[in-house]
Amino acid sequence: MIRVVLPPHLRTLAHVRDEVQLDIPGRVTRAAVLDALEVRYPVLRGTIRDHVTEQRRPFLRFFACQRDLTHEPPDAPLPDAVASGAEPFVVLGAIAGG
């Protein structure tokens, strides 16, 4: 079971309060996690990555295991701790000051 932490606005959109738990058959990659997330919560399509290009929205980041995985290839395996459910995969909005 993969654990995903969403930013507050996306939790509100998806009507979830806490972490999202997803079953990912096969390799656990960022693309696989986001695919499964969007299947379960269609409202999130287009909010994390572009509908057509599937590019990450510029102000979003992906963290896990104290590492910034934002610029890793989408098909690269996520850390074992994420794949095992020991650590969450975190979708984070960039901070905005002012």
């Binding site: 409202v43 909010t47 994390i48 929205r57 102000f59 979003l60 960039a94």
Partner: protein, 392 residues
């Protein structure tokens, strides 16, 4: 019992203000979609309980929300949580993809960029939602970068009316400082095939075949900020308005100049008359008097606040040229708010109500057609849009 429902979009959420026909006591609900920019909220004329909202964010992009109970509860069409992958909803209610098909999309590749080069169209957000006059499930969406979309399934899916960008002048369109947005959609109540749109900074356009083909309608406009002041396109039209009983007469607030057309936009003439400044964003028409119109003059294109720090609505009862300042109840000193292009509306009660919202978070009401004003709310986030539903 009659009443009104005021739909307010702000920088940080939507608010719904309701009152009975006396318009004295107001109930305020919100923020809906707290923290998101709500460019526009509008109800269906065919079913007042059907309300659509454009919710957007620099982080998360565009979301379309729909209510079937007058804004009490909301849903994202087709976006509910799935129990199983089988038969899952498409989740495309926020999918606005420009038509690039060979037949209609071929000429739609680029528009003019700030540096004079050509730039591809990139969807950013929905500025304006215009529900059909007859079908609650049909809605038109004006978007940035400028384009027109339509849904006929209640917002679940959207298709571009590509003939607008494809009629030939698209490569000459360019963004203003606020982006290149299609912000005004007017449906002709007397002719279901006719609609008008306005784009900053391209101008006004009309379709007479339900949105399939379009033509620019900017003859008579004069804009000193473009190389050819009378060019076919390139004018920064801020807003156009019409009266439902006289839809061939259009009123326009342009970047500078207040304009009027008596022939559905074929030609325009200036009606700025004695306004203190003819720069501004909003313009609207009295619900029962087709020649009574309202504007809020703003000092200039570089100083977006009322002249002299006095918030004044100007009313013409003669269809333009002769204007009177309406000040009773409005701040007449130290006021430096703006009133954005989608932030004025009228109700259709017997005594026409006029409403507008400011970037300072006030929503003002005049229940006597502009003679006097009172704030319904004072401290909302910056107001982006105001719409009114008259409930009977």
């Amino acid at each position: 019992m009659s009443g009104v429902r005021v739909l307010v979009g702000t920088r940080k959420g939507a608010f719904i203000l309701t009152a009975d026909g006396k318009r004295k006591q107001w109930d305020v609900s919100g923020p809906h979609f707290a923290g998101w920019e709500i460019y526009h909220v509008k109800g269906s004329p065919a079913d007042p309980n059907r309300v659509y909202a454009s919710q957007s964010s620099g982080w998360f992009g565009q979301v379309i929300q729909r209510s079937c109970d007058g804004g009490k509860t909301w849903e994202t069409p087709g976006g509910g949580m799935t129990k199983t992958p089988d038969g899952m909803p498409a989740g495309e209610s926020n999918k606005f993809v420009y038509d690039a098909s060979p037949d209609t999309g071929k000429p739609l590749t680029t528009h003019q960029w700030y540096d004079g080069t050509q730039h591809p169209w990139e969807f950013k957000r929905v500025w304006h939602l215009e529900p059909s006059l007859t079908d609650p499930a049909t809605v038109y969406a004006g978007v940035e970068d400028a384009g027109l979309f339509r849904t006929s399934d209640g917002g679940t899916t959207w298709q571009e009316l590509a003939g607008l960008r494809g009629h030939g002048t698209g490569p000459k369109w360019q963004p203003g400082a606020g982006g290149m947005c299609l912000h005004t959609i007017l449906l002709d109540p007397s002719n279901p095939r006719r609609m008008h749109v306005a784009i900053s900074a391209a101008g006004a356009f009309r379709s007479d075949d339900g949105g399939t083909t379009w033509k620019p309608i900017n003859q008579g406009l004069r804009s000193q900020y473009i190389p050819d002041p009378t060019a076919e396109v390139g004018h920064c039209v801020h807003r156009i308005a019409l009266h439902r009983l006289r839809p061939k007469v259009l009123f326009m607030q342009k970047h500078w100049d207040v304009m009027r057309s008596d022939d559905a936009g074929e030609s325009w003439r200036e009606i700025s008359g004695n306004l203190p400044t003819d720069f501004g964003f909003v313009i609207d028409v009295h619900a029962h008097e087709p020649d009574t119109i309202y504007v809020v003059p703003i000092k200039s294109d570089s100083e977006h606040y009322p002249p002299e720090g006095k918030l004044r609505v100007y009313r013409s009862r003669t269809g333009g040229n002769e204007w009177e300042a309406l000040t009773k109840g409005l701040p007449q000193r130290d006021c430096y708010v703006n009133v954005l292009r989608d932030a004025m509306a009228v109700d259709s009660l017997d005594a026409c109500g006029v409403y507008f919202g400011t970037t300072g978070g006030q929503v003002y009401l005049s229940a006597d057609a502009g003679d006097s004003w009172t704030p319904i709310v004072r401290d909302l986030p910056a107001v982006l849009s105001v719409e009114v539903q008259t409930l009977r």
